[in-house]
Amino acid sequence: MNQYIFHPFVLPFVLGMAFVLTYCLVGLVRIIAQLPKDDRKKLWRSLVTPKTAWANIRDLFGDCLFHVKIWKRNPILGYMHSAIAFGWFMIIVIGHVMLFTLKPLQGVEVEGFARTFTNFYYPIFYKHFATETPVFAFLMDFFLLVIISGILIAVVKKIYSKIVGVKRVTKFGFADNLVRFALWTIFPFRLIAEKSNIMAFWWLYSIDLMIFMCMLPFTRYMHIPTEALFILLQHAGLKAREPRKGYNLAQLYSCPSCGLCIDACPMSVNDKNSGNTSAYFMKMMRNGDSEDAKRIAETCLMCGKCVMICPVSIESCDIKWSQRAATPYYINSDHSYLDDCGCGDASNASNCKTPSVVYFAGCMTQLTPKIMRSMKQIMDAAGDDYEFLDKDGGICCGRPMLLSGKVAEAQAMIAKNTELIKKSGAKKLVLSCPICYKVFKDEYQLESIEIQHHTQYINELIKNGKLKVNKGDVNYVYHDPCELGRAFGVYDEPREVIENVGNLRKAKSEKELSICCGGSLGSFNLTQQERDEITQNSVNDLMFNNPDEIVTACPLCLKTFAKKSPVQVKDIAEIVCEKI
């Protein structure tokens, strides 16, 4: 072929590109084939439903190219990502648009199949083969410089990560480091090649692209193509099922290993445990379901902070859960005894009159009688007629069983509790334990019965005037329980309640960033000592503004904090009770 339309230095690129496209195509087909039938149907439907289609477009641009979520977290990191991603995207787009206006050198034109082939690499190496209009030339140079500015930040971040507000970064192996080096050098090489037209740099540029694209599937950079698919799957409303198939596979490869979750994870308080964080877990899962991955899946507290902070919105807790659910047991549960148990009060209650509120304390609250007693006093003061469902000990809500990955077993408890609650005839179910609240909201079919956590219930009582409280001058700090805050966004109700009875001080990390107390039932493997370290860290965070008392809304958080807190720890029901 003519040297003005072809040069061997394009071959590495063409090779790399062909490989990565094939790989992605096969991966795409594989993931979609692995989806259960229902899920696939959901996916197709979502692509043509205007609402989800619009969300797809918005997030494909917003998340994949502009990285809006990272901007919100940290503008410097945001710029770094969008400079590289959006810049690169633009030079590809503009490159292809230019195809129509490029003037070939020496007027050598190609037609037919050859034209298609040259179009494959022309936009990538156009300055060697053609000239373009000044406007396009400017745009191409501009975006190239934008990318390089992003890369400069990346280099600085690599050397000194604190500059972008990141304490710990993910540690990578050889392949990841090689691809990163390739990525960093692609664009400077291109710039030099374009400006000098020295062959060696065109070769380097092309080889760099080849390395990047050939290694891409085996490194974290696979997140670039996968994330687009993941966004579509997520918007279709799919949920994690098998640990390393279908939707989960898309999630696993969408993780960019950015490591934002490492600092966020409560376990990272002990450096030794920062290897248990989601970033590493996802990496291990990509490489196969190793024993280590299984261990981490069961070590995680399931507090959901990594999910909340993840710029790609990967539901890593769900992946860990599906890994748990996939673990085989050779002793099965036998909960047939639940069929025969009448469970005291509730069944008797229906014999007399129907209460308007039924209160389910839950297992953990049985160990914090102060919460139960305060709730009783509050309901008495508000004049609600109520019934305690599990005064003499009830049946577990099923959430802990679900957390261990056993769905059918949990359903047995859910069914029995549903029966008891419905039998009470109440219109409203009030819960004191966020662990219960989570499963009642997610899994129970209670139809018209309203489900409230006691923070919401008390707030409602105060708001509609049924409960009169006096404001005191105690300074409280509120700890958001994971399964109330991050899981359901119940942030305002407890704060409003506290402001009615005293002063609310801020913790260092609040609401979606609140730090797990360390007592979570989510973790099976953490030792008491490791939990204590997490608790201490969380207490320090709460004590940031020197409150007089720590207030929480979860019996488990309460008991966990009580061990380490320098000030009194109380449940929100307790402090309200003190001010009636």
């Binding site: 673990t327 085989p328 002793i331 909960h335 160990l367 802990p400 069983m401 039932l521 008491q528």
Partner: protein
């Protein structure tokens, strides 16, 4: 001397011949099983124990006395609610141990 027969089978726990494989394995992965002082808090608080014979304290003892089958039967009733772990004065990670036994 054992003549291979006896009038009635002895009900004694024959510590000499007890098979401790399961318990020893458990001990390796969960060294805290040895810190149990058999106070019974786990049993007293147990949500499943309210309705059944479930008792973690007894399960541990059963495993140490070679009554593995009985122990595994009790575990089936567990609801994994975690109350036992919360009340255990020795900080034994009971939920994890129960999970490990069933695997």
């Amino acid at each position: 001397m054992d003549f291979g027969f006896c009038l009635s089978p002895s009900s004694h726990v024959k510590i000499d011949s007890v098979d401790l494989t399961t318990f020893n394995h458990l001990k390796e992965t969960n060294p805290d099983v040895n810190t149990c002082i058999a106070c019974g808090s786990c049993t007293a608080t147990c949500t499943a124990g309210n309705f059944t014979e479930m008792s973690f304290r007894r399960i541990l003892l059963m495993l140490q006395r070679g009554k593995e089958a009985e122990a595994k039967k009790l575990i089936q009733h567990c609801m994994f609610c975690g109350k036992c772990t919360l009340v255990c004065p020795r900080g034994i990670n009971i939920r994890k141990i129960l999970l490990d036994i069933t695997r």
